[in-house]
């Protein structure tokens, strides 16, 4: 491009995306974003057309989470933007780097209730890390650069840029703005000394590992800490994959549906080392009785999480990549925790999952364990929300956090299918499996068309118990078996529906069909749906009842007294 040559704001948007290495954008066009879609036409940036803006943004989230890059989505003004809101909230709660670009009506008619006008900036305040509305063409490029920087720096999150149509068609000279340098948060040396003292004094330390480890690129650092110290560990839903599943002393997920050994070990520890986690209520149960005899060492990039729910004895707000190696070096070989390590190991053996299930019907936990064992090294599993999501977390295992996409903080049904689409775009050679439930699947079922259009080889494992299983489980346990609006026995014929989108598949109902059916699904050259009618009598166990301590796990059909 010649110096002094002017281009449209819309063209500048695409150029900024290309400058940030964005190769695919997820979106849906409409009136107020038409100039940007015009600029996209023929550009090197590819576009994946979703069939609902929520699907587009969830695909961008799946792309970001599976790749570690920033996801980008487009939507038009008004309903296009409002449809993004759920996905933005999901990305905020799970700290996912996302840049959402929305078209807006022209600046001259903003505030006049123009066609498809809604206050997107106002709506964005509670569901983004930050948001902008560009009202000056000269601010367009610096704002977009800033959006990418904010989305990915510190604790990542979604950033929305609302661009009125007149700004999109205004002309400007393209200039790359001066980039600001984000300062890395460094740990205070006195805090590091105090942390080392806590570690050395502990006889029963326990690592409680959250999503911040993966998001902070600290997986290798954490694994080295564990290797050198032997400290036992548990993970949150988002932390799964941070620790290799066969690591000695690793007890899997803790919390409301955590394993018994994981919860009991945390309750018994004398030092809780919280790494990139935030004492979510689904993790802690009754907060006052959560690891109540333990001192707390809390490490997180976000200072606002330190002391938010549990007062730490030592807290360090810094890059986990920097803190963990320091601690490893300071305490390697110096912890006297052998008897605790042995006890945790015995707890792990005592409370191992039992996959023996009487009868001929399909036991979902056993099927998912079998699936995990079959997946090739480069695999991604996305989930929806509900019972199947918890079974995936309990019974599958993941090589790294990028391989497990689950809507953790917001718990959004409808996440799984579009997230799988985004993951498949990010990692085209990976085996991507969307594990969904019969309730969740229908929430973004329109995205089957996106799979058809791009011939994406996404595998869908539809776990069907003809009910909103998790809600019904709670109705059974805590609402006197009053099953209000949780029966889904009138589900559609899922295989017939998939065939309408050129997706082959089959239904299985018997346990002895599982092995072959999983192989057929994984070996299918293109997309495939395996519809599994499971034994609907089984619920998610164990369960910490609402308001109870994590020590008080239910593991059978008990009703609350």
């Amino acid at each position: 491009m010649e110096v002094g040559q002017k281009i449209r704001g819309a063209d500048a948007v695409i150029k900024v995306l290309a400058a940030h290495g964005v190769t695919t954008v997820f979106g849906y066009p409409g009136g107020a974003i038409m100039p940007i879609y015009d600029a996209l036409y023929g550009s090197p940036v590819e576009h994946l057309l979703s069939r609902h803006e929520q699907g587009a943004a969830f695909a961008a989230v799946g792309y970001a989470r599976a790749s570690g890059k920033t996801g980008v989505c487009f939507a038009t003004s008004g309903p296009g933007a409002t449809n993004l809101i759920t996905s933005l909230a999901d990305a905020l709660l799970d700290s996912v780097p996302l840049v959402a670009i929305t078209g807006q009506v022209s600046t001259s008619v903003i505030g006049t209730d123009a066609f498809q006008e809604i206050d997107v900036l106002g709506m964005s305040l509670s569901c983004t890390k930050h948001s902008f509305m560009v009202t000056d063409i000269n601010e367009l490029i610096p704002t977009l650069y800033r959006a990418f920087e904010i989305a990915a720096s510190g604790r990542p999150g979604p950033v929305l840029v609302d661009i009125p149509k007149d700004i999109q068609i205004s002309e400007l000279e393209y200039k790359t703005p001066l980039q600001s340098v984000t300062e890395e948060l460094q740990a205070d040396s006195a805090d590091l000394v105090a942390a080392v003292e806590l570690l050395k004094a502990s006889k029963k330390p326990m690592l409680y590992v959250g999503g911040g480890v993966g998001m902070g690129g600290a997986v290798a650092h954490l694994r080295e800490f564990i290797r050198q110290t032997q400290v036992p560990s548990v993970a949150t839903l988002k932390g799964l994959g941070s620790i290799a599943h066969d690591t000695p002393g690793y007890l899997g997920m803790l919390g409301m549906h955590g394993g018994k050994a994981a919860n009991l070990a945390v309750q018994e520890c004398d030092l809780l080392i919280v790494v990139g986690a935030r004492f979510d209520d689904r993790v802690t149960g009754r907060l006052a009785s959560f690891a109540s005899n333990a001192k707390v060492l809390h490490l997180d990039i976000d200072a606002a999480e330190l002391g938010k729910l549990r007062q730490p004895d030592v807290a360090i707000a810094a890059e986990l990549q920097c803190v963990l190696p320091h601690l490893t070096e300071a305490v390697a070989g110096q912890l006297n925790i052998d008897s605790w390590v042995n006890k945790v190991s015995a707890m792990e053996v005592e409370h191992r999952w039992d996959y023996n299930h009487p009868g001929k019907l399909i036991f979902a936990p056993a099927m998912l364990r079998r699936l995990a064992n079959k997946l090739p090294e480069d695999s991604v599993v996305s989930c929806d929300v509900g019972q199947h999501q918890m079974w995936v977390a309990q019974h599958m295992w993941f090589r790294r956090p990028e391989d497990h996409l689950s809507s953790a903080g917001l718990g959004t049904m409808g996440f799984g299918l579009p997230a799988a689409i985004g993951a498949q775009i990010a990692r085209p050679n990976a085996t991507v499996v969307a594990v969904s439930g019969d309730g969740s699947f229908m929430m973004n079922v329109q995205e089957l068309t996106t799979i058809k259009r791009k011939k994406l080889p996404v595998k869908i494992l539809l776990v069907d118990n003809q009910k909103l299983g998790m809600v019904k489980q709670w109705q059974q346990l805590f609402f006197e078996e009053r099953y209000s609006e949780t029966d889904l026995s009138d589900n559609p014929n899922f295989i017939l529906m998939a065939s309408a989108f050129d997706i082959p598949g089959k239904t299985i109902t018997q346990a002895d069909e599982v092995e072959q059916a999983l192989d057929e699904m994984l070996n299918a050259p293109g997309p495939y749906m395996l519809h599994v009618a499971i034994d609907d009598a089984f619920n998610v166990w164990p369960l910490v009842p609402p308001g109870a301590s994590n020590s008080d796990m239910m593991d059978q059909m008990e009703k609350q007294t």
């Binding site: 509670s126 890390k129 930050h130 509305m133 200072a303 606002a304 938010k308």
Partner: protein, 85 residues
């Protein structure tokens, strides 16, 4: 418990909404408020807030806002003086 905050923010049209939204959402009730534009175009917001929660739960969230450049907890008698000045 009353707390007196002095918050310096960048001059963005929506910045007051951001500060007040976080204040409400994090469980603090605004009982007094004043806003002034400084000579350098930054905006000084003085807030008296009331809550049972520790004030750090609010200030830690406010300083995360991209447009907030400073957030200080002042002794409680200072806002009244500023408002009455």
């Amino acid at each position: 418990m009353m707390h007196n905050l002095e918050i310096i923010v960048k001059p963005c049209p929506e910045v007051l909404e951001r500060v007040l939204r976080v204040t409400r959402h994090r469980g603090f009730k605004v009982t007094q408020m004043q806003m002034l534009t400084n000579n350098d175009a930054s905006i000084a917001i003085s807030l008296m807030v009331e809550a049972e929660r520790a004030i750090e739960l609010l200030t830690n969230q406010l300083v995360k806002l991209i447009d907030v450049t400073q957030c200080k907890v002042l002794p409680n008698n200072q806002l009244d003086k500023t408002v009455n000045a």
